[in-house]
Symmetry: C2
Subunit: 404 residues, 2 copies
């Protein structure tokens, strides 16, 4: 049989490693012939836009390069399948395109929206007796997927955040005057990535002195009090804040500022302005922006290796006849860190979100407890030896014309 | 004799490497006894706040860690010396503190403002027959110092910009819909760092498709036209822009938007809003912010090695009896890249700025010519083997109480 694989949702450093896992494991399986890449996620299956990956990826060197290339080499999408009872035409197109190429298994690497696709497609295939197995391979820097201990892509993002936060601490501490630096970190609903900056405490850094996540209540008055208290103790106060924290007066990232004008920047800028106005000290805000999800030059080797392994496990799972499943990590131990890869029903993961446990947030709601570090620490360990090309990391890319 | 060294101005990845150069070379010189670090630049000399560095830096390992630690381990300042004819008291304090500790040479690592200090202090010392030699060691990510081929700190910033820009290209290219990404890069008056992103063209990337520097004329109409033209050719258009480009209607970084409201973010946000309003496509702006000057985990080995070497050369220069000089690089060849270290009069560097040569800017004023690449390329070559500590780069720090 042939197989197909696609990538979906927001970029991370590890989605291509999972693709390598699927590809490499499929090469080993005598049952599997062609390995198709669907361009722009499920859109490629709908539009019959598939590429024979064996004509693009040849050597172990290619695969090593792909492992260190961020984002999705096959493109991505944000497409959500309709309910098939309401609109079956899209499903019929997918089935027809899969049949035409004799594809017997489809691997979808993505976040919780993509797991919705895995669930819907596999349910439809069961109903219609379509013999194509569908397996979800998770990924998201947000780490907010249920059932799995953590998500591929999160460890690299967390390593970037910790490393960059430490460099910002050095940068912010040089002048003799007091200052506040607000670092805005991705996470609209869950504070996992922001909370991971607390690993610096394990290394003896006092910073970040304040950490705000969407799971804790936030008020501007309390925030200003917190900052004033920390300023009494530290010359350069560092604040980590999730983009998704709720500001009571309804001001939020990308919406409206307190004058009713469209807000041009995020919550970091808003807090910067608030500190400037209410405290009047030197203050700066920094958005880690897309760098936190695409800085592969600084990826976590643990994350990349695990992301490849979970892709490979997906192939074995499909060959065992399973479908409608999502591959998940189960942690057996923090130290020495050990995980196994298991499967879960896509229905238990799709469209759900896993918040940060309450026990990770301190009672004041302005920092992360030491108990969280044993969870985060193993995920950021190890580095890849990055292959360079004229002083810049080498990337594996597919020529644009093939992706159009 | 004893010597003193201080660090000044905005942080870079290479200021501590120059400190290592001064320290290591001084250790070798039998003439030199104590090596004092002045805390917060020249402020430490005025306030008599000096630290005996031999009580803090012991081993080669310490020095290696210092080389990979960003920012200024001794703190920094933005202090500008008054003209001594107008206010001699500060000069007298400095002389008294230098004499008290039998300091015979002072090394000031900094940008063009710091070279003003080197010039003023050395002129005053000559006038008053104070036998303390003053040597400037340049640094700035802006690369806008006169006389020297390039500045320590620039190569690492350029390597960060090129690497991150390439990762942003991967990140921005995943969806099937057209998009524009505006990347804002530091440089208030000179476009060197923004222009250095053109090294990606040497690696076969079409991006950045548009590059705007302060040295070229800028208009919003032309910008929108440029973007529309590039959108016809590329799905994901990447724009690199210096924070200091002049927007005709007087809108500039941190000032006022075109509705008269205080502008909360930089020029990148402004261009993002303009594209959204006038073109209406998916658009994002990214500020590389302080990461471009403090991401030591990705420093250029060429830059770090040269920064150490220019610090060491400063010591030999002082021992040769010179004063009022700044150490500079003279490039002998692009490929193979060779530089020598020479000296220049501080007066020729202080308070001046070197713009990007006109020949580096294309005639349309919206990109960088291929001729610039042979200049930039050698500066970003090589990497340090970064020592890690629990998954995060190890830093050399001085306990906060000593710096207060």
């Amino acid at each position: 049989m042939n197989i197909a694989v696609a990538q979906s949702g927001g970029p991370t450093c590890a989605i291509n490693a999972s693709l390598v896992g699927v590809f490499k494991e499929s090469l080993k399986e005598p049952e599997i012939d062609a390995i198709f890449g669907s361009v722009n996620g499920i859109e490629g299956l709908i539009q019959n836009h598939l590429i024979d990956l064996k004509t693009l990826i040849f050597t172990n060197d290619d695969m090593e390069l792909l492992r260190q290339t961020p984002s999705t080499v096959l493109g991505s999408c944000r497409y959500k399948l309709p309910d098939w009872h309401e609109d079956e035409s899209v499903y019929q197109k997918i089935v027809s395109n899969l049949m035409q190429r004799q594809i017997g298994a489809f691997f979808y690497i993505g976040g919780n929206d993509s797991m919705d696709t895995v669930q819907k497609l596999s349910a439809y295939f069961r109903e219609k007796d379509v013999a194509v197995r569908i397996i979800g391979i998770p990924k998201t820097i947000d780490n907010d997927l249920c059932v799995t201990d953590h998500t591929p892509g999160f460890g690299s993002a967390a390593k970037y955040v910790a490393t960059t936060m430490q460099e910002i601490v050095r940068d912010s501490s040089v002048y003799s005057i007091p200052s506040v630096t607000v670092v805005e970190i991705m996470g609209r609903h869950a504070g996992w990535l922001t909370a991971s900056s607390s690993v610096l405490h394990e290394l003896g850094e006092a910073a970040p002195h304040l950490i705000y996540v969407p799971e804790a209540e936030f008020s501007i008055e309390k925030f200003l009090n917190d900052v004033r208290k920390e300023m009494a103790k530290h010359k350069a106060v560092i604040v980590a804040v999730s983009e998704g924290i709720e500001v009571p007066e309804g001001v939020q990232s990308g919406v409206v500022d307190n004058f009713g004008h469209k807000y041009l920047a995020g919550i970091g800028s808003y807090l910067e302005e608030t500190v400037r106005r209410e405290i009047g000290c030197k203050v700066r805000s920094i958005q880690l922006n897309v760098m936190q999800r695409c800085s592969s030059h600084l990826c976590s080797r643990t994350d990349i290796d695990e992301s490849e392994a979970i892709g490979a496990a997906g192939v074995r799972c499909a060959l065992n006849g399973e479908t409608g499943k999502v591959m998940v990590f189960r942690r057996l131990n923090d130290m020495p860190y050990t995980v196994t890869i298991e499967t879960a029903e896509a229905a238990k993961i799709a469209n759900r979100e896993k918040p940060l446990p309450k026990s990770y947030i301190n009672t004041a709601g302005n920092n992360i407890t030491p108990s969280a570090r044993k969870y985060f620490m193993p995920l950021i360990q190890g580095e890849l030896t990055i292959q360079m090309n004229h002083g810049v990391p080498a990337h594996f890319t597919i020529q644009e014309s093939l992706l159009r």
